[in-house]
């Protein structure tokens, strides 16, 4: 039996819950990790991953395989993350406290590797779309064209986001990365 993402989606569109759970098991770890890096919050990332998978289920009958399922799902997760970040912008940054590494167990790692903690904090401080472009490029291994599709923008806009994002990272980190090598 064909168990490609697209074949499973065709079954999900007919209401096949088993196919849906297989699809969720296959993609949830990556989507939860992507959401965690974009949002900087593990609990919210789980909510986003759950909401994204529920959208897969509810919208499956209307899904058209115009793009790869993974690209479409990434786009759903990215949009949900950016929507949440936009809604949360009213929160006072001072009240938010120190930005911590969003990865689980970050405290232990921070003691052993200060440079990575600083990098994670610098990434967390980037504007949302710059951070998303960097996360999709380095975490998902996407090309600039794929990132453009996920962000619903042009390739040149993605290149601009990457250039500005890395400029901001260099500014925030100073010589920390260079010293570490």
């Amino acid at each position: 039996m064909d168990d490609s993402d697209e074949a499973l989606m065709a079954r999900v569109a007919r209401g096949d819950e088993q196919a849906f759970r297989l699809l969720a098991r296959r993609h949830l770890p990556a989507m939860a990790g992507l959401a965690r890096r974009v949002l900087g919050n593990a609990a919210e990332a789980e909510d986003v991953a759950q909401e994204a998978m529920l959208r897969v289920w509810t919208h499956a009958p209307r899904w058209q395989p115009l793009a790869a399922f993974r690209t479409w799902l990434t786009r759903v997760v990215v949009n949900l993350c950016l929507d949440r970040k936009r809604r949360a912008q009213w929160v006072d940054l001072e009240a938010a406290g120190e930005i911590v590494d969003p990865a689980p167990g970050a405290g232990e790692r921070a003691e052993s590797d200060e440079r990575e903690r600083l990098l994670a904090a610098a990434i967390a401080k980037l504007p949302d779309r710059q951070r998303t472009a960097i996360v999709l490029t380095y975490t998902e291994g996407m090309s600039n064209a794929q990132v453009a599709e996920a962000l619903d923008t042009t390739v040149s806009a993605v290149e601009t986001l990457l250039v500005r994002g890395k400029q901001n990272l260099r500014r925030a980190l100073g010589g920390v990365i260079d010293e570490g090598e």
Binding site: G33, A45, L54, P104, R109, E116, I123, V163, E181
Partner: protein, 153 residues
């Protein structure tokens, strides 16, 4: 290629020359080979790429998070969103398998009823003979000759 253009290339495509656009690759590699500042920029870009790759690889607990989400999804799923434009597809995909004997019986009943109606088998037999008999015609009783005397009225 200028050093600023090289920096833009490094930031937008990374430090790996294999990822650079072919049209810019030769010029960029030439600048890196000939200019010490360009070599420094390339080395810094390699270090930033390596740091970002380490950052991307961190957080192996995503499997646990995914397992928690799967547990939450284990309950009843919401109703799927089927728009009205999906109705033709639903009809085309209609499966009669569980009900086909009943559908066939209904079709047979309809066919038998139609045949009965066409053949007139539903009309009473007496009514048919009454209409067809000339003996009941009152005009023949008045104007026909008397059978014994032959007299006419």
């Amino acid at each position: 290629m200028t050093k600023d253009e090289l920096q833009t290339l490094l930031d937008s495509h990374g430090a790996d020359p294999a990822q650079w656009p072919a049209a810019l690759r030769v010029a960029a590699l030439g600048l890196i080979a000939s200019d010490a500042r360009a070599r420094e920029a390339h080395a810094a870009a390699q270090q930033l790429d390596a740091a970002l790759a380490r950052y991307a690889a961190a957080g192996t607990d995503d499997q646990t998070a995914a397992a928690r989400v799967l547990t939450r999804l284990a309950g009843p799923l919401p109703r799927q969103d089927r728009g009205w434009w999906g109705l033709p597809a639903v009809l085309l995909d209609w499966q009669f398998t569980p009900a086909w004997p009943r559908v066939a019986a209904l079709a047979c009943c309809a066919a038998v009823g139609f045949m009965v109606g066409i053949a007139g088998l539903d009309r009473p037999f007496e009514r048919t003979t009454t209409i067809a008999s000339p003996a009941t015609d009152i005009t023949s009783a008045v104007f026909e000759a008397e059978p014994i005397s032959g007299a006419r009225p």
